[in-house]
């Protein structure tokens, strides 16, 4: 690929960045001043990590770094070298969020997500779904495999079934 560089401005350095993203070792060349959010979206292919405000106020860009939540828009990518990063794509079974406390109180849930702005739900449903997830984890319930067979369009008839 052709490199386009700005003629007048001082250029950032480049560095080799190796991190673990959702369980996979990733090695990338990144610019030394790159923001983690941009690297995740533009280079590492994690488009599930969103940009909502760019200044740490909305929480859309949250990722887990070594299991701790972090706003990727306020994180210098270079600082994350060698760390383990989990994005929303890696959260499919939700275990990590509730890993430290699988039976949180409502207040604990609220505190945990206080950095996230939500404009649709009014938050109540988020609290409810975290509660539901914690139930699933504690009770060790199975979640239905989304690829399992869907309904049969040719069902038989049985009296009273």
């Amino acid at each position: 690929m052709v490199e386009f560089r700005l003629p007048m401005l001082p250029q950032p350095g480049e560095l080799v960045w190796s991190v673990n993203i959702n369980g996979t070792e990733v090695k990338l060349n990144i610019e030394s001043n790159a923001i983690l959010l941009d690297v995740l979206r533009d280079q590492a292919g994690s488009l599930g990590t969103k940009r909502g405000c760019d200044m740490g106020t909305c929480g859309c860009c949250s990722v887990l770094v070594d299991g701790e939540p972090r706003l990727s828009c306020l994180t210098l990518a270079a600082d994350m070298n060698g760390r383990e990063i989990t994005t929303v794509e890696g959260l499919a079974n939700g275990h990590q969020l509730l890993s430290q406390n699988n039976n949180p109180t409502n207040e604990e849930i609220k505190t945990a997500i206080e950095g996230n702005l939500c404009r649709c739900t009014g938050f109540q449903q988020i609290v409810d779904s975290i509660r539901a997830a914690s139930d699933i984890i504690r009770e060790n319930n199975d979640i239905e495999d989304s690829t399992s067979a869907k309904s049969d369009p040719h069902p038989g008839f049985m009296e009273g079934n």
Partner: protein, 923 residues
């Protein structure tokens, strides 16, 4: 084991049907028997129908309607797989960047792009000269360009756009573009917009109103204006100031444009109204609409803020055309505020009058709204500020003057509750004050003045189902109102507020409703049995894909997992007006039902052909069509499908919806006209710290009449989410402009959206008034639920500390100033010594309770009696309910143009009528 049981049915072999039909197989290999609890009594089921039968009752198969259903696209979202605007990444893409005006108002003298074009990595630059055609939401107010032509109208207005290999280069190119301006005197004060100006922000030619910045003015006078003075015993008068608020959707605007090798444009955009963009692109690019495919991506929240066709969408298409490569433009949050289209900053004067027996004998409203620099939906907003508070109450006289002015601010537009929110707040607070002055309970006052179901408002809106009374009764009871109202200690308060909102706009903006339907849905089913729905209804997170899928699944007796919906691309979806004015459930689900009914008829005919049973006795249950008197006689869905495919292959059907003819004929009569209306009543409980003025909302009981909750999970979500958004406006949200007119808080740090800690517990209460024309009885639930929370909180603050606010948001500073004033009035030195308001009911309370009881009986009779007579607003004042009062009373005014008398002393917005339209200036 199921397999061992005997299966009965038409020529059916014992055991699971053995022949392998293409498409057969999968889970739940036996049809579930019909659960009578899901079937309405009108169809011999056992589901109660307190509001009577419905025309769709016979279509209920008991599958999904009325059951809480996770949104059909939720799996994409929770796994991060949903592609929103900026997630569309095409190979070889360029990054587009908008060059914006630093000035509020200026002529552009020259733009020199040569240096920027020389920068390696810059591929294309466009300016206003590249696309001079105007576009806009309404055909009559096309006033936007892709980029400024001649002048910029607000700080942040678009001047040029750049496509470059990466963002850094685009930003550097921006710096290299040289622009010369001649700065013009900008206006920022809404009142100044009413005056003549040397350089009005737009020139509307012969339709321009004087030399002013008035974009739209409305005058409406209905009812018994002349005897208002004589009849009035108490009045409320207030002068409100409402700050502008922004939608604050989570996903900033983003767009990707790509011209394919065959010369067609695909525009990927998170739009609520893809069809308007489609039209505008054709205008701006000067190509026919069929050359454009508008691809709606997932939408990360819109709330009205993504329903205009936007200049940046045009820019992306222009840059992609120039460069021959895909172009992606993404806004940062600040740019979202520059584009705005949020709720109008407004000044509203509200006067309410009640007569000696507690009837609302007059509402006089004057609303001056700040449109910022473009028209957007402004015509409509100007009407809505008036006409949407002519219900749910029966009123003796309605006088409305409204004006929308241009100022050099980012444009205001449509936002959830469009045009109804601010004036509704003023009305409901006013009613609270009237009740206080009449010494009656404010809920009783409302209950004794409601329009009955199937009536007409004073402006001639046809209202069908009304669940207002039930909303009020439920929140009153569940909140423990009677023990709390005017009885709680200082600092604790409870308040009521109501709402009324359109469920779809009666008139499509772009076409004659007789010439083209409001909504169209196509279905396609092939031998696999899965149903593909094609609809243009824009899924914006509200659950429209789900509700349309549910409707089809219900009629065809299929589980949701057999339905797939294609609602994204204009190439494949029928034209739809999009997701605004709370129209989608009402119109698209109705269209979907009618498309599904056609398929259903074919399946039943096929089943009849196979079984020999007559079509009249065949019904659709869970994936099976059978004789309702002997369910053993029947065929599977797939068998019937294959039978009906014999001669023609895939089944295709199309269903459409249009509104019935309705309403009056005066100028502006169509604004606010809807096929149905939603109603809501909220009670809020608050704590106000008298020493700091800080208000905390503790709990909200929120009752909303949505006709029928097709998906209760989504309806509850809309109610709670609406509360959150409305609380933001009443407590903290405000687009703040500085002394020189600059927007001070275009970011989420200073623009204060309530966080989870400010959010009270909300108890959603769903009222189902069974609308006769709604799909399965449904009406809207997405916007109406926002309205009541603002006045409920304001009224609760009064109950807590005895001060009435007329200025939103009610920040601590503002409330504390009012507390200080109150202290002076009461002669106390510490706010802690303030006396909270108390209320002894007068004799009128009894009268009103009796009237409310009578009306309650009247309403139940009317809603159940299909041969009911007409009921026109005015009957409560003694007019014959079956005749429109203007037909029987010559003093009953219907006027939409002010007379000279009025113009001698107009109110604020009304003074817009002092100007003469240019074409009427003579010579």
């Amino acid at each position: 084991m199921v397999k061992d049981k005997e299966i009965q049915g038409y020529r059916q072999q014992p055991g699971k049907l053995p022949f392998s039909k293409p498409g057969s197989g999968g889970k739940n290999s036996f049809s579930k028997p019909i659960n009578l609890e899901n079937i309405p009594v009108s169809q011999n089921g056992i589901k109660d129908q307190p509001w009577g039968p419905h025309r769709h009752d016979s279509l209920i198969s008991g599958q999904v309607i009325g059951k809480s259903t996770a949104l059909v696209d939720s799996a994409w979202k929770v796994t991060g797989q949903a592609q929103y605007g900026d997630d569309v990444r095409l190979p070889n893409e360029l990054i587009g960047r908008i060059v914006r005006s630093p000035h509020h108002y200026a002529k552009i003298l020259s733009i020199d792009c040569s240096k920027a074009l020389d920068l390696p990595g810059v591929v294309a630059i466009a300016t206003g000269n590249d696309a001079k055609n105007k576009f806009g939401v309404l055909p009559v107010t096309k006033d936007e360009h892709a980029m400024a032509v001649e002048k910029v109208r607000h700080a942040g207005d678009l001047i040029a756009c750049i496509a470059a290999e990466n963002e850094n280069i685009a930003r550097e190119a921006e710096r290299l573009i040289q622009i010369e301006y001649e700065i013009l005197e900008s206006i920022h004060d809404i009142k100044e917009g009413l005056e003549d100006s040397e350089y009005p922000i737009h020139d509307r030619g012969q339709y321009h109103i004087g030399n002013s910045n008035i974009q739209k003015r409305v005058f409406q006078e209905f009812g018994n204006i002349s005897s208002l003075e004589k009849n009035t015993v108490v009045s409320h008068q207030s002068n409100w100031t409402f700050a502008g608020v922004n939608h604050g959707f989570t996903e900033p605007h983003a767009v990707v444009a790509n011209w394919s090798p065959d010369g067609r444009l695909t525009l990927y955009t998170p739009q609520q109204v893809p069809h308007y963009v489609h039209r505008s692109l054709a205008d701006v690019l000067e190509i026919p609409m069929h050359q454009i495919n508008v691809h709606r991506t997932f939408v990360g929240g819109g709330f009205g803020g993504k329903s205009d066709p936007f200049p940046h969408e045009m820019c992306a298409a222009i840059l992609a055309r120039k460069s021959g490569r895909p172009v992606r433009i993404t806004f940062d949050r600040e740019e979202v505020f520059w584009v705005n289209r949020g709720r109008h900053p407004s000044k509203i004067e509200m006067n309410l009058h009640a007569d000696s027996i507690g009837r609302i004998c007059g509402i006089e409203t004057d609303a001056l709204i700040d449109g910022g620099s473009f028209a957007s939906f402004g015509h409509v907003t100007t009407y809505y500020n008036g006409v949407l508070h002519t219900a749910p109450y029966e009123i003796g006289a309605f006088h409305y003057t409204g004006a929308r002015v241009w100022t050099n601010k980012p444009a205001s537009g449509a936002m959830r509750g469009h045009g109804a929110v601010n004036s509704r707040c003023a009305v409901e607070v006013g009613l609270d004050d009237l009740a206080e002055k009449l010494e009656v309970d404010p809920i009783t006052l409302r209950l004794a003045n409601l329009l009955p179901p199937h009536s007409a408002t004073i402006t001639g809106f046809r209202v069908t189902s009304i669940g207002m009374r039930e909303c009020l009764e439920r929140v009153k009871e569940e909140s423990g109102w009677s023990d709390k109202f005017r009885k709680m200690p200082l600092g604790k308060g409870i308040g009521i507020g109501c709402g009324f909102f359109i469920s779809g706009s009666g008139l499509p903006i772009h076409w004659d409703p007789n010439k083209f339907p409001h909504a169209t849905v196509h279905l396609k089913i092939d031998m696999d049995g899965g149903v593909t729905i094609h609809t243009g209804a824009a899924e914006i997170g509200q659950g429209s894909d789900t509700v349309v899928s549910q409707s089809v699944a219900e009629v065809l007796g299929l589980p949701l997992d057999m339905i797939r919906i294609r609602s994204r691309e204009s190439d494949t979806s029928p034209v739809d007006l999009g997701s605004y004015s709370s129209r989608v459930t009402f119109m698209n689900a109705n269209a979907a039902i009618s498309a599904a009914m056609k398929i259903r008829d074919e399946l039943i005919k096929a089943a009849s052909d196979i079984t020999g049973a007559s079509e009249e006795v065949l019904v659709i249950g869970d994936r099976r069509i059978f004789d309702k008197n002997n369910p053993a006689i029947g065929v599977s869905y797939l068998e019937a499908l294959h039978k009906s495919q014999e001669e023609r292959g895939a089944l295709i059907s199309s269903g459409a919806y249009r509104t019935p003819p309705m309403g009056k004929t005066h100028k502006g009569a169509a604004a606010g006209l809807a096929p149905a209306y939603s109603f809501s009543a909220y009670v809020a409980e608050v704590s106000v710290d008298v020493e700091t003025g800080k208000t905390i909302v503790d709990k909200v009981w929120a009752a909303h009449d949505c006709g029928k909750a097709l998906n209760p999970l989504a309806v509850n979500g809309q109610i709670i989410g609406s509360c959150h958004m409305g609380l933001g406006q009443v407590l903290s949200e405000e687009m703040r402009y500085g002394r020189t007119g600059h927007l001070m808080n275009p970011d989420f740090l200073d623009y204060k959206i309530p966080s989870i800690h400010e959010m009270p517990e909300v108890i959603p209460i769903i009222i189902e008034s069974n609308d006769p024309e709604g799909p399965f009885g449904a009406k809207e639930a997405g916007e109406g639920p926002l309205l009541p929370i603002l006045p409920a909180v304001c009224n609760a603050v009064y109950d807590a500390i005895g001060v009435r606010t007329e200025d939103l948001p009610i920040t601590s500073e503002k409330v504390f100033k009012l507390v200080e004033k109150k202290c002076r009035e009461q002669g106390v030195s510490s706010p802690l010594d303030l006396k909270p308001p108390r209320l002894e009911f007068s004799d009128l309370q009894d009268t009103l309770e009796k009237r409310a009881d009578l009306h309650s009986t009247r309403d139940i009779e009317r809603r159940l009696d299909s041969s009911r007579e007409e009921y026109y607003n005015g009957a409560i004042f003694g007019f014959d309910p079956t005749k429109s009062p203007e037909e029987v009373d010559e003093n009953w005014s219907v006027r939409v143009i002010p007379n000279d008398d009025y113009l001698h002393s107009p109110r604020l917005a009304g003074s817009a009528w002092k100007h003469i339209e240019r074409r009427k200036m003579g010579d």
